[in-house]
Each structure stands twice: as structure tokens, then as C-alpha cells.
């Protein structure tokens, strides 16, 4: 579980080009959107693609992402429960 959280933080930084942010700056429970990392709607789509590509999770409704991408902890819990690879 801690490993998955670190993995997710690394993926966030590399796949969303967050070059000004270090892994240590992302708290497990920090909000990813809005006042947190300041991710935008394109980032949300990119995360949906990442879920499918890296963890075999296909979201039926992109609106589900709003809850799943609340924080690293929430994302990690969701992936553990639903991953197919």
C-alpha cells in the first residue's frame, strides 16, 4: 500500500508533467484538484487513461473520476479494490 502510493505520486509527476513538484511535497491526503496540486480537466482525462493502461481499470463514466481522484489515498484504495493487472 505505501509502495503503491509512492508509485502513484511518481506517475502523477511524470505523466502530468508536474516538474516543479517533488514527490515529498505530495501528501497522501492532499486534494489533487482545486486548491491542492491544481490539476485540471485534461489531467483528469490523463489519469483515467493511466488507470486503464497501468492497472486495467476502465471507468464507465468519466464523472466517477471526481471521487476516485480526490487524493492519493483514495486513488490507492480504489486501485487495490479494482485492479485487473
Amino acid at each position: 500500500m505505501p509502495e503503491l502510493k509512492e508509485e502513484l505520486k511518481e506517475k502523477l509527476i511524470t505523466q502530468l508533467s508536474l516538474e516543479d513538484i517533488e514527490i515529498g511535497e505530495i501528501g497522501d491526503n492532499d486534494p489533487l484538484f482545486g486548491s491542492g496540486l491544481g490539476l485540471d480537466s485534461i489531467d483528469a482525462l490523463e489519469l483515467i487513461v493511466m488507470l486503464e493502461k497501468d492497472y486495467g481499470i476502465k471507468l464507465k463514466d468519466p464523472k466517477e473520476g471526481k471521487a476516485i481522484f480526490e487524493s492519493i489515498t483514495v486513488m490507492s484504495d480504489y486501485i487495490i479494490k479494482n485492479r485487473t493487472k
Binding site: L16, S17, L18, E19, D20, I21, G38, I42, D43, L45, E46, V49, E52, K53
Partner: protein
């Protein structure tokens, strides 16, 4: 009706590892192998803090940096500053990247963040967001920088009061060969706006 005279208030060029501002060398990096690396070095040199920069494609990064050079320290940039740009390669550089990402049908994961840059006019959107511009903008794909066209277009926008200033120029990138030129056209400035003066500073 007396035809008003407009001026080139500032300009910059970015090409072949060299950046010039108003005709003076500003930055040089002959070691950067790619446009992306060059843009990253220039961004650091300019000490900019704009996290969205890192998400842009190379065409947008170069156009964005040119606009920063042009607008930094200016307090007279109005929301109605129009943007008129052109290039030869359109968004071909990013189009190729996107195509590569979708070539393999067995590994088909198109990237939304790459796809959004598969239009050349996105660079104007990035500049508008940065400077809160709500203005006329147009992007043309032409074989070469047509100073006559840009001079006429700027004159029309200014004389018809569609804009109080115009940023015009050439933002071209194809396989790490880049050629960027932006000029700020206003009612006051360093040089009188003519086809010849615009052409001359483009070639500086």
C-alpha cells in the same frame, strides 16, 4: 480620413539556440539538442514560475517564452491586445507524437494531454490565459513569414479599434528546427510599422 501611424514597440526572435530581444542578444544555448531542452533552459534562465508551462508542447513553449520576453515588465498590456500568428509546419511536431501514440492498436491509449496540442492556434490560447487577454486572435499557415500580410492585418485591427495593440509574428517548429518571431504593434514604439521594417527585424 487621416491614416494613423502605428509602431513596433518591441520584438524578439528565437532561433538556432539564440534569443534576441529588440535586436540584442538575450540568451544563447548551443548545447541543447532538442527544442524541448532549449525551451526548458530558457525558462530557467528567465526565472519564470508558471507550472502550466511544463505541460505545453514545444511549439507552445517557444511561443509562450517569446511572448514573455515581449511582455515582461510592461504594464501597458490591455485585455484587447490581439494575437495574429502564422507558421509553416502548423502543429506537425505534436501531430507526429500523437500519431505515434496511437499507431499500435494493441496498445491503444491516446493521450488527452498530447491531443489538446494538435492545433497550432493553442499557443495563442496559452498566451491569452497567461495575460488574461480577451481579444481577437487568428493563426495562419503559410509557406513563409509574410510581413506584408501581418502589417496589413495589424493596421486593420488597430484602425478599426478591434484592438489597442497587436502581437503578431511567426511561431514555427518542425523536428527541433524552430523559428520564432513576435512583435508588439502599438500606437507608440521604437520603429514605424511598415512591411519593410517588420521584414527587416524578422531577419535580424
Amino acid at each position: 480620413m487621416i491614416k494613423e501611424t502605428y509602431y513596433i514597440s518591441g520584438w524578439c526572435t528565437i532561433r538556432e539556440g539564440t534569443v534576441c530581444k529588440n535586436g540584442t542578444l538575450y540568451y544563447k544555448d548551443s548545447d541543447a539538442d532538442t527544442a524541448k531542452d532549449f525551451a526548458k533552459g530558457l525558462y530557467a534562465f528567465m526565472n519564470l514560475k508558471y507550472s502550466k508551462f511544463h505541460k505545453m508542447d514545444s511549439l507552445c513553449k517557444l511561443g509562450f517564452l517569446a511572448s514573455e520576453l515581449l511582455l515582461t515588465d510592461r504594464k501597458d498590456i490591455h485585455q484587447d491586445t490581439a494575437l495574429v500568428m502564422s507558421n509553416k509546419a502548423s502543429s506537425l511536431d505534436t501531430d507526429r507524437s500523437y500519431q505515434e501514440s496511437i499507431n499500435d492498436r494493441a496498445n491503444f491509449y491516446p493521450s488527452p494531454s498530447v491531443f489538446v496540442y494538435t492545433l497550432p492556434n493553442i499557443v495563442m490560447g496559452e498566451i491569452s490565459i497567461r495575460h488574461h487577454l480577451k481579444s481577437e486572435n487568428a493563426f495562419f499557415v503559410t509557406d513563409y513569414f509574410d510581413a506584408s500580410f501581418h502589417t496589413k492585418y495589424a493596421n486593420i485591427l488597430l484602425s478599426t479599434k478591434k484592438a489597442s495593440q497587436v502581437i503578431c509574428g511567426w511561431v514555427d517548429l518542425d523536428t527541433d528546427k524552430y523559428d520564432v518571431f513576435l512583435a508588439l504593434i502599438a500606437k507608440k514604439g521604437k520603429k514605424k510599422l511598415t512591411q519593410s521594417s517588420l521584414h527587416k527585424i524578422y531577419n535580424q
